[in-house]
């Protein structure tokens, strides 16, 4: 397998943009990424497009050719990749495999979602198709309800971590204050989180990620090609893992550790030849605050049951030992589902290049992204190193 590097990144601001179309979001993020790579679009050999549910949310399928047309990519192959909230990372991994195999030298990966124009109830129904619709959603088990059940089980097995969950939200909001692409620039407190509008006990509105419109793109190239075109710090994809688990919550071996994360992380660490202690910072999938706690344990940054102590001790803050979600995460930067995984990669590449501006981390040579779909029925972990 050939070494592969990221040579271009682009994203829109995340937010509620009723006046913007899917095309408009794709155009801005896609052209930004192509300009960032400094390459002609004729060099792109294939397009991998991530989108979760535009068929339900916007009445639009066939996102691959839509994006290829918007970006003027001619007759190159374009394919849509879907893995619920992990769609972005999943599309990235398919592109990575295609370049690593030698089939292509330069490819474009994009993600888009437009969901904020719908009512909360409709969005909730659209998202519910990422669970088992007949067995879970049809019983009234929304995504917040599924993760609330995970939280209550976690409390039972490891103790009540309500305070640490709230701190995850507070920290992510604080980080987003320094990110111009973030949807929310709003400081919150632990009390706001605990006393917020109840959604599914113990989760309040402040424990839940955002409903967002947005798009993100990444240009990937074989590293030997990348060296000839890339004028910025080269960011090599040194590790990648993908694993799955049962779709339904009731069938999982454990609710408090996600088997898909553990397996995907193991693959990515082995491929990169590093361990959790070698990672300088990470973007992890904080669809709900409890998920962020479980993720930082499953990725090996903290042992099982101790993630909450790491959070309350400030170890996951931007100034901490292992900064988590310095972008603001899904909680405050935003969660345009099909774009989310690529938006995480956008942040890691930005940090590795030293282009983070006010939120630039002092130590940023090895970064990790973690993206799950459903109740962690799909997980993709990627590790990046600045060269």
């Amino acid at each position: 397998m050939r070494s592969v590097s990221v040579i271009g990144i682009g994203e829109t601001r995340m937010g509620r943009f009723p006046e913007r179309s899917l095309r408009d979001l794709i155009r801005e993020a896609g052209e930004t990424a192509l300009n960032d790579a400094g390459i002609e679009r004729s060099v792109i050999q294939a397009l991998f497009m991530s989108n979760f549910n535009a068929q339900f949310l916007n009445g639009q399928g066939h996102i691959g050719p839509l994006a290829a047309e918007v970006l003027g990519l001619g007759t190159i192959p374009a394919i849509r990749v879907e893995g619920a909230c992990a769609s972005g990372s999943l599309a990235f991994r398919q592109a990575l495999i295609a370049v690593a195999s030698g089939l292509y030298d330069v490819v474009l990966v994009g993600g888009v979602e437009k969901m904020a124009h719908l009512s909360t109830e409709s969005v909730t129904e659209g998202i519910a198709s990422a669970s088992d619709f007949a067995q879970e959603a049809a019983l009234g088990a929304t995504f917040p309800a599924l993760f609330a059940m995970i939280a209550n089980r976690y409390f039972h097995e490891y103790g009540n971590v309500r305070e640490a969950m709230a701190i995850c939200a507070v920290q992510n909001h604080e980080n987003a204050l320094l990110n111009p692409d973030a949807q929310l620039h709003k400081q919150i407190t632990v009390e706001h989180v605990k006393n917020g509008l109840p959604i599914a006990d113990p989760l309040t509105i402040y424990d839940c990620s955002l409903v967002s419109d947005g798009s993100a793109f990444v240009v990937l190239a074989a590293t030997d090609v990348a060296r000839t075109v890339c004028s910025k710090r080269l960011v090599e994809v040194v590790g990648s893992g993908h694993a799955g688990d049962t779709l339904t919550l009731a069938s999982k071996g454990s609710l408090t550790t996600f088997a898909a994360t553990v397996s995907a992380a193991k693959q990515a660490y082995a491929m990169a030849g590093v361990g959790p202690a070698d990672i300088h910072f990470a973007e992890v999938h904080d669809c709900f605050t409890i998920t962020q706690l479980i993720n930082i344990e499953d990725l090996g940054f903290f042992s099982k049951g101790t993630g909450a102590f790491g959070v309350t001790d400030g170890k996951t803050a931007a100034s901490g030992l292992i900064p988590i979600n310095v972008s603001g995460g899904l909680k405050a930067k935003g969660h345009p589902i099909g774009a989310t995984g690529l938006s995480q990669i956008f942040e890691v590449v930005t940090q590795l290049r030293g282009e983070g501006g006010a939120r630039q981390l002092p130590r940023a040579d090895v970064g990790l992204t973690h993206n799950i779909g459903g109740t962690a029925a799909t997980c993709v972990v990627n590790i990046f190193r600045g060269r």
Partner: protein, 77 residues
């Protein structure tokens, strides 16, 4: 005779999809019966109920789609 399960985990749902809007707050739970864990609804919730993992719930019926429905236990021990 009661068919009884225990709460493996649960949540009181306050914000649902359109189809369930009128039913909030309602309880969804993973209920354990023997070695089997199934997603279920637990009927009869009021804010006087204190839910805990491990508490007993009584099987009522299956709904039209075959989902199990329980209620808070009132059977004699």
């Amino acid at each position: 005779m009661c068919r009884r399960g225990t709460l493996f985990t649960y949540s009181v749902v306050h914000s649902g999809m359109d189809a369930f809007k009128d039913q909030t707050p309602y309880v969804v739970a993973l209920v354990k019966e023997g070695q089997q864990i199934r997603l279920a609804r637990v009927e009869g919730y009021t804010d006087r109920h204190e839910l805990v993992v491990g508490m007993d719930v009584d099987f009522m019926a299956e709904d039209q789609e075959g989902h199990p429905i329980y209620r808070f236990s009132s059977c004699p021990e």
